[in-house]
């Protein structure tokens, strides 16, 4: 290598892209399990980009929630760490809650009792974003009302 060596590709990505990259690297250090949840949300809906934004927005189409539930279920089964698998499990349930709350649709085979128990396990998990827990709480109330 000589002093006149220079990288072949002098392309410098846009500043926003570099900031985004550093931001998700930082998130993976600070909140690794939550990061996995957000990365999957980004895969499903890049505009919203986080699990909280995806799951607490009534305007998200049902098909997107169904897609997210499948991917979160995959994280639940095959996530790298126990924390990641737990987040996958919680967020898969949260997708079912959002589908029920915002679209009146059941996207799991759970009966009411199993669904209520699942919703309650999510609302009890203080590591999840408050907006997600509040949404699931609303879904839980709606399910209770519907069973009366």
């Amino acid at each position: 290598m000589t002093a006149d060596a220079r990288p072949d590709d002098p392309h410098v990505p846009a500043e926003g892209a570099l900031r985004d990259t550093l931001a998700w690297v930082l998130q993976s250090i600070e909140h690794p399990a939550a990061a996995a949840g957000d990365w999957i949300a980004y895969e499903v809906d890049p505009q919203r980009g986080t699990a909280a934004a995806l799951l607490a927005d009534a305007a998200v189409p049902l098909t997107r929630l169904q897609r997210a539930r499948i991917l979160y279920a995959g994280l639940r089964s095959d996530g790298e760490t126990a924390e990641e698998r737990a987040v996958g499990s919680r967020l898969a349930i949260a997708c079912a809650a959002a589908a029920w709350l915002f679209h009146g649709a059941r996207i799991t085979n759970h009966d009411d009792a199993a669904l209520l128990a699942a919703f309650r396990s999510v609302t009890a998990d203080l590591t999840l974003e408050p907006t997600v827990r509040e949404m699931v709480c609303s879904a839980e109330r709606k399910l209770l009302r519907s069973g009366r």
Partner: protein, 242 residues
């Protein structure tokens, strides 16, 4: 193309397990890694493309290689980035003084006016006028490229072509180059996978592995060190003082 049914292996180390401080292993490695940042600073300082290239080569030959800049690195004085930025700034100031002295005393007793040294041919990015901002942006871009190259090499060496390809096509290129990402269905078909969850789990694992490599490249001694450095770079990219 060989199909792979195996999801990528998991990264061996978390970002917090980064090794002791890593700066470029040699001045020559630093020369290659830092070319873009040095050039960006000089170019944004108002030099023409040709001048900036010449000055970048001059800095690398005279300071980085000639004076062994790495040997002067002292952790108490800050990171390599700070040291390099300071050295480039000084080098450019010296070059400016040298040029002006030459113009004031061109020989044969003639006196000429010192003109504007800003050879702006319209290519200088005036939207982010500070040379430091251009330097920092190019520095981060180089870090990202190096981390990606490390991850690619690791994947290819361990038979995880599918994992690298999925991450590169679905995450890196769209994010850094604005490329259109392939659909999950296309990636599943391309690599003979069974389910879209293999793609999403691969992406999660690869993002984490990329983060590990980027932290290593930053030379962070610990998770706290990595956090601090990334926050500082984020602040610098936003144009604020850390």
């Amino acid at each position: 193309m060989a199909a792979s049914h195996d999801p990528p292996r998991r990264p061996d180390a978390a970002p917090d397990a980064a090794p002791a401080q890593h700066v470029p292993a040699s001045d020559r490695e630093a020369a290659v890694a830092c070319w873009g940042a040095i050039y960006a600073y000089i170019r944004q300082a108002g030099r023409s493309d040709e001048q900036a290239r010449d000055l970048t080569q001059g800095f690398i030959a005279d300071v980085l290689l000639g004076r062994g800049l790495l040997a002067k690195l002292d952790e108490r004085r800050g990171q390599f980035r700070t040291l390099l930025l300071s050295a480039v700034r000084n080098y450019l100031a010296d070059a400016y003084r040298h040029d002006h002295a030459a113009r004031r005393h061109p020989g044969h007793g003639r006196i000429v006016a010192a003109g504007n040294d800003s050879h702006d041919d319209g290519l200088v990015d005036r939207t982010t006028p500070a040379p430091e901002a251009a330097f920092n942006r190019a520095w981060v871009a180089a870090l990202v490229r190096e981390a990606a190259a490390d991850l690619q090499a690791e994947c290819l060496a361990s038979g995880r072509e599918a994992a690298w390809d999925i991450f590169d096509r679905r995450v890196l290129r769209p994010m850094l180059e604005g490329a259109e990402p392939p659909t999950y269905e296309a990636l599943v078909a391309r690599w003979g996978l069974h389910a879209p969850t293999q793609v999403s789990n691969t992406i999660v694992a690869m993002r984490r592995a990329f983060a590990t490599h980027l932290v290593r490249r930053m030379g962070a001694c610990s998770g706290d060190g990595a956090r601090g450095q990334i926050r500082e770079l984020l602040t610098l990219l936003e144009g604020r003082s850390p």
